[in-house]
Amino acid sequence: MTTQPTVEDLKVIAEQVWSSYLDVDGTSPLLPVAADKKVIDVTASVSVTGAWRGHVLVSCSEAAGKYVGAALLGIEFDDVAEEDVADALGELANIIGGNVKSLLPEPCALSLPHVHIDGSSGRYPAVTEVCHLDGTWRDESVTVTVLESTTDLAGAKA
């Protein structure tokens, strides 16, 4: 099966990640609806190389990043430092990216996560978006995006 991942796939993956680590008691799930204000303060991404090439991004507001840090590190929201957000969000991107990778043609490899706390987008030239999931978690915006590279290894347009 070489069909591309869809937003439905992202919903299934997100639901499993949230119920395992971020919404253990089921009271604060990731709602698959766009937040009132889509905010991107921090983005963690992993790159996929091999039979398929592209990136999986997890972007969210600063507050959501701190909620992730607090949940994964088991600390209070106010005690979450920037490096905690980077580590926690990076692992989230790793887990979500790994699950997306398993839907792609084989063999592929996953990079280590990279985290950007500057809110900038457009950091990925020569890509097309495959799908994205706009979500709301604890009233904050969280987005998962799958980007496919449009150039082949030699740099020519595909």
Binding site: D9, V12, I13, Q16, S19, S20, N99, S102, L103
Partner: protein, 285 residues
């Protein structure tokens, strides 16, 4: 936010009538937890409002969905471990000797929910029966939704993470998108049908092994007795019965005797010479 006495009474009356399930006072939390997803699907914010609609203006199928939601058992592969270990160490050696002429094993997994138990039984039998032996497994449940899920034989990553040895995952399942699907060779050995344990069974069996785990606890004593009596009618005279780890037939039905198997118990029908209760139709060799 919590259910009123009347609302709880309506729901417990409904499941008692339809499925002989007993929900005593104190189980309101269970009703709320199980019905909340249904309430949300109907666009209602609280379980109370959902129950009111079920009483006054029920949508088609609403009662059945309520009963299904309350009778669904949480299940997982190799749940509790030991019974399946004993299946290999105690039961199969016994049946291999007794069924040497037919070399067929028939198994019933009652209240099979989303199917993990029947598929676990299929894996165990497939991997431990000698060449030339066959088996088939029937999974039954009262919930059509669960039966549909079980028929699909497809599980999420979270579900296959639980209790299933990795060796068996790669041996007996194939990835299907984000899910894992039981291999067709094994899938063909399992069939599913809808049965309400509280009602007379259609003709079934005779079975060599019956697993009826963690469902009798929901019935009152009289219903437990009736269910065990019906189960006994489907079991071969030397067949094996497994209950949930906290359950027993003792004090409920004398026709079974407990057999220690490793760190768990199994049950067999008392033979005629040891019968403490009147021997009913056991002649079905």
């Amino acid at each position: 936010m919590t259910l009123t006495t009347q609302e709880f009474a309506f729901i417990s009356g409904l499941v008692r009538r339809d499925a002989a399930i007993v929900l005593e006072a104190g189980k309101e939390y269970l009703v709320e937890a199980r019905l909340l997803p249904l309430a949300r699907q109907s666009g209602l914010p609280t379980v109370s409002e959902f129950v009111n609609r079920a009483q006054q203006r029920p949508e088609p199928d609403m009662h059945r969905k309520i009963v299904d939601a309350l009778t669904t058992n949480e299940t997982s592969f190799f749940r509790d471990g030991e019974p399946f270990k004993q299946l290999v160490e105690t039961v199969l050696p016994d049946l291999l000797a007794r069924r040497a002429s037919t070399r067929q094993i028939k198994v019933w997994s009652a209240a099979s929910s989303s199917g993990q138990e029947p598929y676990t039984l299929a894996m165990v039998l497939n991997d431990n029966l000698p060449a030339g032996w066959g088996f088939d497994i029937v999974g039954t449940d009262i919930s059509t939704e669960m039966l549909t899920r079980a028929e699909a034989g497809q599980y999420t990553q979270l579900e296959v993470n639980r209790g299933l040895p990795a060796q068996l995952l790669v041996k007996h399942f194939e990835r299907n998108g984000a899910h894992w699907k039981i291999a067709s060779g094994l899938r063909n050995k399992v069939s599913f049908r809808r049965i309400n344990l509280a009602a007379p069974f259609p003709p079934m069996g005779p079975f060599d092994i019956v697993f009826i785990r963690n469902v009798l606890i929901y019935f009152d004593v009289q219903t437990k007795r009736t269910v065990l009596q019906r189960v006994a009618g489907t079991l071969r005279p030397d067949g094996w019965l497994f209950l949930g780890s906290a359950e027993t037939t003792i004090g409920i039905d004398d026709r079974f005797e407990r057999v220690v198997a490793g760190r768990t118990s199994a049950y067999k029908l008392r033979t005629a010479s040891k019968a403490a209760a009147p021997v009913s139709a056991l002649g079905k060799g």
